[in-house]
Symmetry: C2
């Protein structure tokens, strides 16, 4: 017979989930209110405001979808794309590929603009695709490509979307709460995220936000949204003042999101971004001091997710297993063409802490030394500490 | 600025969510493991076994979808129905109606077999629809209609499905863990449930199970499943031994489901059913002793959800508000054609307790007396207690 769970200690430094703040864990143990209880509806209202805060938007249609980040991706495409619509998608990693798959299932005619994994999408390539493809319904891009560690600039592509009268979709799963997404400033029309990255709540919800232009497109649809579960016209009537019952909200998950966002607001979004930046750059300095090579394009490296090339003669899975079994540290391996070639080290949300940078660099150095990898020893931790002193 | 949540005490006796056992709440506060951590994969395996236990099935494809019960409904239809397939759906309440909507969006040609809300679907009507409609891909029915309190017998409709070579789909959202669903015994091909009813975990997951015949239909599809998020061919590769990453599982929710199902197994499924039966019938005896009329068809009343007609000259919302504000007791109102006409009183999972039956009957009698409703006073609690003594 199964027993009550007794689980090992972990330090979550992979591509997500990240460690969850004890206050957020505690909030999940709060007894439930009903999903139509006036007190719960207040919590939903506060949560919507907090989501607007981290997205940096005044968008009215800003809610948490009852699924993980991928359900947010699907929400954007099934609600805003109709069969036959042309959509340009930037593909420079797994999540760009996933958007192509999801958009295709929604009936979109997809134009892929590809770049090597680890690099960013050059806005000029988007512009070329716009010129070659007649009217386009939307341009979609991944802000923080979790599979590679590359950070995509948004401004110029947003400007192109406006120029060509296309909607602008952004995947902010890994960026939200770690770097500025700036939904209003960047004039993003539809954006989705997840709770288990820099928000540091458990996985299971997808914060989404839609501009007025997106809402107009939604209202002007000629066809029914193919997904009942993700149909925004019904979901906004539950989160909005009508309070129409659609589905039972994941109450405990909403508690956790409310508390996680509240902690971010208490720390201050600017301070939170600064913390991610500091820890990410310190980690990257430490890895380079060890003689390892960072995998993402220079100048476009995410602070909350660092991809680093696996040194020669060292086996990927073996090192990750040693980190996990010996120290309880989880990091991620590569995906797709980068499988076996990179590690992905996350410093997201509550996991983005100076002590974690030190613990990880020290543990990795010990293991690589033991495995006779060709690295510089005795430099990583000192270099990272120097970085903190100087910045 | 938002504050940490401080919430009022509630006794959840509505149509779900139900009260959550303290052990289950506690399990949600467990620090997270990664979704690909070997220890977490063990928990997923144990959870699959526990889901099989409550569904009473050996079906290999038995998992928890990362969404609420409605996502389970959509999972069944988008994976097993292809555009143009004919599907017969029994409609005798809101959730039958919802299946019609969901099936239609998946491209099904829907044949509705309707019955008055509160009554069951007569298998003869299903048989007539089968005779009149040529080849049918599936027959779908709601086992426990949460909007009315009616319990649908499954055996005869299952037999018809076999006779006409159709798949048999069952909505077990409210029945699972309260009455026997008997997936193998009733030869159900696809079944979905929710966690926030008789399982008494928080809402946010949908346990589903598929027969070999359903898996064959899935594998024989000519078209791609329209939903990426709910595509079972990919999801079974994550839950199965391949362990392919699909989306990040809602880790804390899986902990809660594991613990809730473990508690059910410890109590024993037969004992759990008996407890639901006892408390439900005691409540119903008490309500009738008060002079109120039960709303669902006699002989087909659910034990975990009792629908009762609102007495004349009493205002629905007013009574529910008094129950909530004065005693913290939540019950449900009617939906659709039954709005303002019935109350729905749940005794689901951890909420199904003798003390709750007494508290509710006593509170309702006090309020109705105060509002000068035409009821028998002083009889409800005594009648319910007599029921326990005799049964």
């Amino acid at each position: 017979m199964s027993k009550e769970l007794i689980l090992p200690k972990r330090l979550l430094m992979g591509p997500g989930p990240s460690d969850v703040h004890p206050n957020v864990l505690k909030s999940m143990a709060t007894p439930l209110l009903g999903h139509l209880d006036p007190e719960f509806l207040n919590i939903m209202n506060e949560t919507m405001d907090l989501i607007r805060y981290v997205f940096e938007t005044d968008n009215k249609l800003t809610v948490a979808m009852s699924g993980t980040g991928s359900s947010g991706m699907e929400t954007v495409f099934v609600n805003l794309v109709e069969p036959g619509d042309k959509v340009i998608i930037g593909v420079n990693g797994l999540f760009g590929q996933r958007m192509v798959d999801v958009a295709g299932r929604a009936g979109a005619e997809v134009v892929q603009v590809e770049a090597e994994w680890g690099t960013i999408i050059d806005p000029k390539m988007i512009e070329a695709a716009l010129k070659n493809n007649g009217p386009v319904k939307a341009i979609a891009i991944v802000h923080a490509e979790t599979s590679t560690g590359a950070q995509q600039p948004l401004k110029e592509i947003s400007r192109l979307a406006k120029e060509y009268d296309a909607l602008f979709f952004v995947d902010a799963v890994t960026s939200l709460g770690g770097i500025s997404v700036g939904v209003d400033e960047n004039e993003i029309d539809a954006v989705y995220s997840g709770t288990q990255k820099c928000i540091s709540a458990p996985p299971g919800l997808s914060p989404v936000s839609f501009s007025n232009k997106a809402v107009e497109a939604l209202n002007a649809r000629k066809t029914k949204v193919q997904s009942w579960y993700l149909d925004l016209s019904m979901i906004q009537a539950y989160w909005g003042k009508e309070r129409f019952y659609h589905h039972t909200a994941p109450i405990s998950m909403i508690y956790s999101l409310h508390e996680a966002l509240r902690l971010i607001k208490e720390e201050g979004l600017g301070t939170v971004f600064e913390r991610h930046e500091q820890n990410g750059r310190a980690l990257q300095a430490g890895l380079e001091a060890m003689g390892l090579e960072l995998a993402a394009q220079e100048g476009y490296r995410l602070p909350m997710l660092t991809s680093v090339k696996i040194p020669d003669n060292v086996e990927d899975a073996n090192v990750r297993k040693m980190l996990l079994q010996r120290y309880g540290i989880e990091i991620g391996g590569g995906l797709g063409p980068l499988k076996g070639k990179i590690w992905r080290v996350g410093l997201m949300g509550y996991s983005s802490q100076r002590i974690n940078v030190m613990q990880f660099l020290s543990a990795l150095e010990t293991i690589l030394t033991e495995l006779n990898a060709d690295i510089n020893t005795g430099k990583a931790v000192r270099t990272a500490e120097d970085f903190y002193l100087k910045n």
